[in-house]
C-alpha cells in the first residue's frame, strides 16, 4: 500500500478536470477547422471566413462568458437571449426616438443588464430560489418588456451609431487576394475587440482573483465552501450580477452588429450560450469550466454550422441535428475521459 502511495505522489500532479476539458475543446476545434480546410476548402481557405465567424459571434461569446460564470458557480441563466432582445430594442428606441447618443445607448444597455443581474441574483442568492425558475421568470419579463418598449422591428438611422457599426478594424498582414488580383485585408468589427477583451479580463478574474476562485468553490460544493469561510450567498449573487452585466455588454455588441431593434432578436441565444459553455468544458453540475474553453466552444459551434451549410445542407433541421450530435459527442467524450481519469487515481 505504502509504496503505491509514494509512487503516485512522485509522479507529476495530474491535470485538473477543468484543464483537461479545456484541452479537449481546443484540440477538437483546431482538428475540426483543419479538416474543413482540407476537405471542404472553398471559403474555409480564406482568412476572412475565420474573422467572419468572430464577427458573427462576438455577442454570443460575451453572453456565453456570462453563462459560464453562473454555471461554474452552480447556477444557470436562461434569460440572456430575451434580455439581449430587450436591450437591442431599448437602445434602438433611445437612439432614434428619444434623441439619445451612442454613449447613452451604451449606458442604457449596461444598466438594463445590471438591473436584471441584481434582481435575479438577489432572488437566487438571498431567497434561495432555484436559478432556473428565477431566470425563467426573467426571460418572460424581458420578452414582455421588449414589446412594451416597441412592438415592431426597425433599423436604426442615428448617424454616429451607423458609423460605429460600420467601423472595420483591419488586421495587419492578413487577408486574401480576390478574383481581380487585389489584396483584400481581413477585418473585424468593434464587437470582436470587446469580446476578446472580455474573455481576457474574465480569464484573469477566474484564475487569479478571490471572487474567481470562490465561484469555483461554491460550484464545487456549496456546503464545504461555506465551511471554508466563503460567503456563498454573496458569491452566488455576484455570479448572476456579472452574468447580467455581461448580457448588457453582449446585448449592445449584438445591437452594434445587427443595427436594429426587434422582438425576435437573439432568439435562442441562451441555449447557444449554454451549448457553447458545455462544449467549452463547463459542467452543468458546477465547479468546472474555463472562459477560454467557452470562447472555443462558441467558435466550434459556429464552425460546425458553417460546415453544414457549406456542404449544402442548408435546412435548419440539419444544423440543429448536427449541433445536437456535437453536444452529445462532447458530453460523452468528457464523461469518458473524466471517468477513466478518476478510476486511475
Amino acid at each position: 500500500m505504502k509504496a503505491v502511495v509514494d509512487k503516485k505522489t512522485r509522479r507529476l500532479a495530474p491535470m485538473s478536470d477543468t484543464n483537461l476539458l479545456l484541452t479537449i475543446t481546443i484540440v477538437v476545434f483546431f482538428a475540426m477547422y483543419l479538416a474543413a480546410m482540407l476537405f471542404i476548402g472553398r471559403g474555409f481557405l480564406r482568412v476572412q471566413t475565420f474573422f467572419n465567424i468572430l464577427n458573427e459571434n462576438a455577442a454570443l461569446i460575451i453572453l456565453s462568458c456570462g453563462m459560464s460564470i453562473v454555471m461554474i458557480a452552480g447556477g444557470i441563466d436562461i434569460s440572456v437571449g430575451k434580455l439581449t432582445a430587450l436591450i437591442c430594442m431599448s437602445a434602438a428606441v433611445n437612439l432614434d426616438y428619444q434623441g439619445g447618443s451612442v454613449m447613452s445607448a451604451i449606458f442604457l444597455s449596461l444598466a438594463i443588464g445590471l438591473a436584471f443581474g441584481i434582481v435575479q441574483g438577489a432572488l437566487v442568492a438571498f431567497l434561495d430560489i432555484q436559478p432556473f425558475i428565477v431566470t425563467l421568470a426573467g426571460m418572460f419579463f424581458a420578452k414582455g418588456m421588449t414589446t412594451i418598449v416597441n412592438s415592431t422591428q426597425f433599423n436604426v438611422q442615428n448617424e454616429a451609431f451607423v458609423a460605429l457599426k460600420n467601423t472595420r478594424i483591419y488586421i495587419p498582414f492578413l487577408g486574401s487576394v480576390n478574383r481581380r488580383g487585389v489584396f483584400v485585408p481581413a477585418y473585424v468589427e468593434i464587437g470582436v475587440v470587446v469580446a476578446i477583451v472580455t474573455v481576457i479580463v474574465l480569464f484573469i478574474m477566474l484564475r487569479w482573483t478571490k471572487l474567481g476562485r470562490s465561484l469555483y468553490a461554491v460550484g464545487g460544493n456549496p456546503q464545504s465552501a461555506n465551511m471554508l469561510g466563503i460567503n456563498v450567498k454573496k458569491t452566488r449573487f455576484l455570479s448572476h450580477l456579472l452574468c447580467g452585466l455581461l448580457a448588457g455588454i453582449g446585448g449592445f455588441v449584438y445591437f452594434l452588429h445587427v443595427g436594429s431593434g426587434a422582438p425576435s432578436h437573439a432568439t435562442g441565444a441562451e441555449m447557444n450560450a449554454i451549448a457553447s459553455s458545455i462544449i467549452g468544458g463547463t459542467m452543468l453540475t458546477g465547479g468546472v469550466g474555463n472562459i477560454i474553453g467557452t470562447f472555443f466552444g462558441v467558435l466550434s459551434l459556429s464552425t460546425i454550422k458553417n460546415i453544414v451549410s457549406l456542404l449544402g445542407l442548408d435546412d435548419a433541421w440539419w444544423t440543429n441535428i448536427t449541433v445536437a450530435a456535437m453536444i452529445c459527442i462532447f458530453l460523452v467524450v468528457q464523461s469518458v475521459v473524466l471517468l477513466r481519469k478518476n478510476k486511475r487515481s
Binding site: V5, T9, R213, G220, N221, M227, G287, N342, S345
Partner: protein
C-alpha cells in the same frame, strides 16, 4: 471570563423542531490545553461545535473569546475563522474540484489576487512537514479520503488560530497518520492553542487530552481533569448508568445453537472490486465476520455476495439451491439484507422521513405497484422505533436531522422489516457511541438466536470477538485465515492479520 481561558460558552440552548439538542450547556477551554468533548451520539457534541463555529445560530446563551470585550456573536464559519477559531469537521468539508493548495488557503487569504506560485510553495512546505502524501497542484478529488482529511487538518493548523476544533478527525486515518496528528496537536498545545477534540476512541482521549467535558442528552454532565476520571467512570458518565459487563453479552453455550444447515455458500466468487475469487459459507443461526485492516477487501467481499458490485465469476447457493445474484435486488429476493459501510452514500435517503426510510426495502421487494398503506407503514415504523429505541421526534422527521447512531438504527430497521434469513452488517457501529454499539451487538446475537445468519464487519477487533463465532481474516484482498473457537483471541487475530501465523 477567567484569566487563562481562551473560550467560554455559558448557558447555551439550541433546539431543532421539537428536539432539544442543547440545554444550558457550559464549556470552558483554557490556553494550551487539549480538551476532549465526549458523549454518545446525539448528546450534542456536534451541535455545540456548530453553534460555536456559526453554522447554527444558538437559541440562547453567551460565548466569550479571549481578546474580545463582552460576549461575541458568531454568525458564520467565515466570522469564526476571522475570530481565530478553526475547525476540522468529521465529514470532509473541502471542495474536490479545487487543488490541494487552494483548499488550504481559500476563504482566508488577505489579498484579492491569488498568488499561485507563492501559495503552492507554502502549501507544499506544510504538506511536507506534516508528511502528507499530496502535491499542492493536485486536484483534491484525486486524493484518497484519508489524505483529504489530512489536508483539512493542514488547513486548520496553518491558520493563526487560538482555538482549534477537531471533530472526529481520526475516523478515516490509519495509526501512523493518527500519530502524526497527535504530534501536531502537542506542538500546537505548546504554542498556547486551545484544542477541542471530539472522538469516539477512548484510547486517543487518554493519550493526548488534559481535560474532559462530558455531555449527555444535550445537557452538561461535568468537566473533569483527565487524571481524576478513569475510563470506566467516563463511560458510565457518558451512558448515565453503570456499564454492563461487556463479556456477558455472549454467553458460553452460544456455539452449540448453530445448526449444520448451510444458509448461503459461495465458491470462487469474485467481482470487479473483489478480484481474487473467494469461498464463503454461513450456517443458520451463525454470526461470522470478516476482519482485516481498512482496505484489506472486507467490504468488497460482502458487496460481491450482495451483488452491489458487478459479479465476475463464481457459483452461489442459497439453502442448497443454486442461485444467481447479480444485483442487489436479486439478493433481496433471496432474503439477503445488506447494511452498507457508508451510510451517507449508500444508506439513507436524507430528505425522506424516518418512516419512509424504514419501509424502503420492503417496498422495493413488494414492487412499486403494491404500495404499502400509510397506516401499515406507520405501524411498522412505530414498532421498530420502539424495538430499536430510535430517538426521533416523530415518524415524519426527515432522517437527516437524526444523529448518526439513530440513522444507523433506522437502516437496520429497514432490513429487519424485510425479515431476511441472512443479514450482512458492514461497519454498523462506526461513528456510534458505546451504548448504541452494545445495543447493536446484543441485537445481532438476538437475531442469531432466532435462527438468522449474520455476517458482521467491524474495525474494532474486540467488538468482533464478542459477537462472532467465526472470523475470516483478510489481507491485501485475499483470505489469509479463518479463526474460530479457542483461537478467537485478540493476539491470535492480530498475528493472523500481520501474517505471523501462516
Amino acid at each position: 471570563m477567567e484569566k487563562d481561558s481562551v473560550l467560554e460558552m455559558r448557558g447555551i440552548y439550541k433546539s431543532f423542531y421539537s428536539v432539544k439538542a442543547l440545554q444550558n450547556v457550559d464549556f470552558t477551554l483554557r490556553e494550551g490545553e487539549i480538551h476532549a468533548l465526549m458523549g454518545e451520539n446525539g448528546a450534542g457534541k456536534s451541535t455545540l461545535i456548530k453553534v460555536l463555529t456559526g453554522v447554527y445560530a444558538k437559541d440562547d446563551g453567551q460565548v466569550f473569546l479571549k481578546g474580545h470585550e463582552g460576549p461575541i456573536n458568531i454568525k458564520s464559519p467565515e466570522e469564526a475563522q476571522k475570530a481565530g477559531i478553526s475547525t476540522v469537521y468529521q465529514e470532509i468539508t473541502l471542495c474536490p474540484n479545487l487543488t490541494v493548495a487552494e483548499n488550504m488557503y481559500i476563504g482566508r487569504s488577505k489579498g484579492v489576487i491569488t498568488k499561485w506560485h507563492q501559495m503552492n510553495a507554502s502549501a507544499n512546505r506544510i504538506l511536507e512537514s506534516l508528511g502528507i502524501p499530496a502535491k499542492a497542484e493536485q486536484q483534491l478529488g484525486s486524493c484518497s479520503i484519508a489524505v483529504q482529511q489530512m489536508v483539512a487538518i493542514a488547513r486548520a493548523v496553518d491558520m493563526e488560530c487560538k482555538v482549534l476544533i477537531l471533530d472526529e478527525p481520526t475516523s478515516s486515518l490509519d495509526e501512523s497518520e493518527v500519530a502524526k496528528l497527535f504530534r501536531l496537536m502537542l506542538d500546537l498545545k505548546a504554542r498556547g492553542v486551545g484544542i477541542i477534540f471530539v472522538t469516539h476512541f477512548l484510547d486517543q482521549v487518554y493519550e493526548v487530552c488534559d481535560r474532559i467535558t462530558v455531555l449527555r442528552d444535550g445537557q452538561l454532565v461535568g468537566e473533569y481533569a483527565i487524571e481524576n476520571l478513569p475510563r470506566v467512570e467516563l463511560v458510565s458518565k457518558m451512558l448515565g448508568k453503570e456499564l454492563d459487563d461487556l463479556s456477558e453479552i455472549k454467553s458460553g453455550d452460544e456455539e452449540q445453537k448453530i445448526s449444520n444447515e448451510i444458509v448461503y455458500d459461495a465458491e470462487g466468487l469474485s467481482s470487479i472490486a473483489a478480484r481474487s475469487p473467494f469461498n464463503f459459507s454461513i450456517h443458520k443461526g451463525e454470526v461470522n465476520g470478516f476482519t482485516g485492516l481498512l482496505g484489506s477487501g472486507r467490504s468488497e467481499c460482502v458487496r460481491a455476495i450482495f451483488g452491489a458490485d458487478k459479479v465476475t465469476g463464481g457459483t452461489e447457493h442459497m439453502n442448497g439451491k443454486g442461485v444467481r445474484i447479480s444485483k442487489p435486488r436479486d439478493a433481496m429476493k433471496h432474503g439477503i439484507g445488506y447494511l452498507p459501510e457508508d451510510r451517507k452514500r449508500d444508506g439513507i435517503v436524507g430528505d425522506l422521513s424516518v418512516r419512509d426510510n424504514i419501509i424502503l426495502a420492503l417496498q422495493v421487494l413488494e414492487g412499486f405497484f403494491g404500495p404499502i398503506s400509510r397506516a401499515k407503514a406507520e405501524k411498522f415504523a412505530d414498532e421498530y422505533i420502539k424495538l430499536l429505541d430510535i430517538k426521533t421526534a416523530s415518524t415524519d422527521t426527515p432522517i437527516k436531522s437524526l444523529s448518526g447512531g439513530n440513522q444507523q438504527k433506522v437502516i437496520l430497521a429497514r432490513w429487519l422489516l424485510t425479515n431476511p434469513q441472512y443479514l450482512i452488517l458492514d461497519e454498523p457501529t462506526r461513528g456510534i457511541d458505546i451504548g448504541t454499539k452494545i445495543e447493536i451487538q446484543k441485537l445481532v446475537l438476538k437475531l442469531a438466536g432466532e435462527g438468522k445468519s449474520v455476517t458482521f464487519i467491524s474495525s474494532e477487533i474486540d467488538e468482533m470477538l464478542r459477537t462472532c463465532s467465526r472470523l475470516i481474516v483478510m489481507r491485501d484482498g485475499k483470505q489469509v485465515g479463518e479463526l474460530s473457537g479457542g483461537d478467537l483471541t485478540q493476539t491470535k487475530v492480530m498475528s493472523t492479520i500481520a501474517g505471523g501465523a501462516k
